[in-house]
């Protein structure tokens, strides 16, 4: 058993995993009854990745789920009724029927950011959440999930790069469920372990058995603590298996039978139940107590969702802009004076250690200042270059006379604008043909 968890916490984890499983079983029945409006994506077999990772977060931490992380939402405090109503597009849903599935936010209470269907976009967004939290002194960690498929997007790489450069307190759980819709991992990436992507970003990473909820929790907890200690971001690869198709419509015939047979006995819920019994953390009575509570809660919430109406049509026209309907207020946990002048004053120069570029190279690079690769300047030269550019600016503000053709161009000051001014002789304007067809072709009335 995990030393970090008490008996009650073990049982709470079981509660969330079983709640996740039975909630989705009910939704599958609702889908067959045509009561689910859109698609239904199953997280069967992946519950441990959602529940175990989210359980490592504090209430003040922020979380953004993907489509198969309903378990994470439940752990963060979302009620099953919100999941039912979202899928059934009811007016009582968190988005009032404007969006479905796990696509909803709760910024104020549970600190949840909605995903969008375009994969990877949450990585930069949650990087921003992590950076803002640090800036405000909130000591929070941001956590999000990405699939094996989504880890090939540009947004994923851009977000990871920025998070790494800023050492953002961000935990990215790479949920490797072997399949991106119908494409197996081996056809996407020539890597055995997707966690290896972390090497390219220069960040911490770990691989964990995604079907062992205690292992996922322990790894996530360590990652969260690394982030809180300033060692983030962390990429955590959880190896698991998607046990259904991409969505309800997909029978997943492309998955080899042997693969399913391999993973079936590795069901995370069955494994955890066995684990709880082996470690004498519960008995049959305790289990049935929890199961009965789950069924009771789900029955109540499902009835609520089924009885809820669809949103009124006029809602479609409302809420495009925030016209003061939301109060936007940052929650400061550090003195504001620290980020205001004079405390915030700094020397605007890069400090580049252990590097010396030949002076000749710098001179040659100078006219291309617009591309601005200052990392190649040792501090002194950079400061000198900056100082030298100051008076130039004032001259360049007025359209200065272009240097004569025979002037020594190499000694000319760098332009303050990225572009040249073009030829002084504007005679080509006179050769301009008549203006393009703005005339009414029918002629005048």
């Amino acid at each position: 058993m995990s030393l970090a968890l008490t008996r009650d916490q073990h049982l709470e984890i079981y509660y969330y995993m079983q709640l996740n499983r039975r909630l989705e079983e009910r939704m599958e029945r609702l889908f067959r009854q045509n009561k689910i409006v859109g698609g239904l994506y199953s997280s069967l077999g992946q519950e441990a990745v959602s529940v175990g990772a989210a359980y490592a977060l504090e209430p003040r931490d922020w979380l953004a789920p993907m489509i198969r992380n309903i378990g994470a939402l439940l752990v963060k405090g979302v009620k099953p009724r919100d999941i039912f109503t979202q899928h059934m597009a009811k007016s009582t849903s968190p988005t009032q029927g404007k969006d479905g599935t796990s696509h909803f936010s709760d910024l104020k209470t549970h600190h949840i950011v909605s995903p969008i269907s375009m994969l990877g976009d949450l990585i930069p967004v949650m990087t921003g959440v992590a950076l803002a939290g640090r800036y405000l002194g909130q000591k929070i960690v941001a956590m999000t999930w990405i699939g094996d498929g989504g880890s090939s997007t540009g947004a994923f790489h851009e977000g990871m790069s920025l998070a790494a450069a800023q050492r953002a307190p961000l935990v990215v759980v790479l949920e490797n469920n072997q399949w991106a819709y119908s494409t197996p991992v081996a056809r996407q990436v020539p890597l055995r372990d997707l966690a290896d992507r972390a090497k390219a970003y220069g960040i911490l990473s770990k691989i964990v058995d995604g079907n062992d909820v205690v292992a996922v929790y322990d790894a996530a907890k360590a990652a969260v603590e690394d982030c809180r200690a300033g060692r983030g971001p962390v990429l955590l690869e959880a190896k698991t298996m998607r046990m259904k198709g991409h969505a309800q419509h997909d029978a997943a015939e492309y998955v080899p039978r042997a693969m399913v047979d391999y993973w079936k006995p590795r069901d995370p819920l069955a494994l955890f139940e066995k684990y709880l019994s082996e470690h004498k953390l519960w008995d049959a009575h305790r289990k049935s107590e929890i199961d009965e509570r789950i069924d009771r809660e789900l029955e109540e919430d499902q009835k609520f969702a089924e009885a809820s109406p669809f949103p009124p049509p006029e809602l479609a026209e409302q809420g495009v802009y925030c016209d003061g309907c939301h109060t936007i207020k940052a929650e400061w946990r550090r003195p504001k004076a620290e980020v205001m002048p004079p405390a915030s004053n700094t020397e605007a120069v890069w400090k580049v250690e252990d590097f010396g570029a030949p002076v000749a190279v710098q001179r040659a690079a100078k006219p291309a200042a617009a591309s601005g690769s200052h990392t190649s300047h040792p501090p002194k030269q950079a400061a000198a270059a900056l100082a030298a550019s100051k008076p130039v600016g004032k001259v360049a503000e007025k359209p200065a006379a272009p240097p004569a053709a025979e002037a020594d161009v190499s000694s000319a000051p760098a332009l303050r604008v990225p572009f040249g001014r073009g030829p002084k002789d504007k005679s080509f304007r006179q050769q301009q043909p008549p203006p393009p067809d703005h005339r009414n072709k029918r002629g005048r009335r």
């Binding site: 969006d99 936010s105 930069p124 990087t127 959440v129 008549p434 703005h438």
Partner: protein, 324 residues
């Protein structure tokens, strides 16, 4: 008050907003130590420090995505695109995430994405574009295109204080070419309000950004020929000031729309549709437009001149219109 350039006015707005509110932060490529490709953010880092003025990797999606995330915690980030052409790199983050966040999830995104756009400076096809219309077609965004230093400053302040994602297109041709005194003290210019730059009775010319100046230049030429054009500067493309457009057309009965963005799908088409539907009986002539060509914006000065509208082209179209 000494006259300032549009660039200086924008810089003033950035400084003043960051001084006013510690929730305002800036991020972008080369905006810190270097001060931005056009020096719009020069001095910001020295004053406000690296926590508030962040030099980022070359990752437009990460810049805008991070700005979204920051805004969720109550910050008011200002993201710079080194050139607005590069906004195409983070199209998804803006149109699918930021724009829809409030409507779908009730999660406002008080973010500004600002940067230089527009042609006339020989920047070539990837440094001269006017990509504003991609975003005017996206509900949830606000699209601002100022043409004067005092508008740029007041509108940028409004954008920072707005609870919605505002895309702020700074026309780079105007950065150092227009100078004027800006009002003293803290002031804002409302987003979504057009302004009549020149009153006239014979026809209306609607434009924005650099083309507002081109239209005024044309109007002066026309005035010498006895044609009095009313020139409207839209200032904001989304939301569009329909009232100002219709009021002027109902007065002059003739409309010419000028923009340097490509013709097909430009704002002129939308304005023409509004006017035809709402003021058809007031029109004495077809709605005309002088616009950029339906081509990429080319590099050579002779080609770029051909692409861009100028005062002669605008005046020629206006003369045709006036004959009706």
């Amino acid at each position: 008050m000494p006259a300032v350039t549009m660039l200086e006015a924008i810089r003033e707005a950035l400084f003043e907003e960051m001084e006013r509110d510690p929730a305002v932060v800036a991020l972008g490529e080369d905006i810190g130590v270097y001060g931005g490709a056009f020096k719009a953010t020069e001095g910001l880092l020295a004053k406000f420090g690296p926590e508030r003025v962040m030099d980022t990797p070359v990752s437009e999606t990460a810049i805008v995505g991070a700005a979204c995330g920051m805004s969720y915690l109550g910050l008011r980030p200002i993201a710079e695109m080194q050139f607005m052409d590069f906004i195409a790199c983070c199209f998804n983050q803006i149109t699918n995430f930021a724009a829809k966040s409030h409507y779908l999830w009730g999660a406002p995104v008080p973010m500004v994405v600002r940067g230089p756009s527009g042609g006339g400076v020989h920047g070539g096809p990837f440094h001269s574009q006017s990509p504003e219309m991609y975003f005017v077609h996206t509900p949830g965004l606000k699209v601002v295109c100022p043409s004067t230093p005092s508008d740029a400053k007041g509108l940028l302040k409004s954008a920072v204080r707005d609870n919605n994602p505002v895309l702020f297109f700074e026309h780079k041709y105007l950065y150092r070419r227009v100078k004027e005194e800006v009002p003293e003290g803290d002031y804002t210019v409302p987003i979504g309000k057009a302004v009549v730059r020149r009153a006239g009775t014979d026809l209306t010319i609607i434009s924005y950004a650099a083309m507002a100046h081109t239209s005024l230049e044309a109007a002066e030429q026309l005035s010498r020929e006895g044609i009095e054009a009313e020139v409207i500067d839209l200032r904001t493309l989304l939301p569009l000031d329909r009232d100002a457009i219709l009021a002027s057309v109902k007065k002059t009965n003739k409309l010419l729309v000028v923009h340097e963005d490509a013709r097909t799908g430009g704002i002129a088409g939308e304005i023409a549709a509004i006017v035809c539907q709402e003021a058809f009986e007031n029109l004495d002539a077809p709605v005309m437009r002088v616009t950029g060509l339906d081509t990429p914006i080319p590099y050579a000065p002779s080609l770029e001149e051909r692409f861009l509208p100028n005062a002669e082209k605008v005046a020629a179209a206006a003369r045709e219109l006036a004959k009706y």
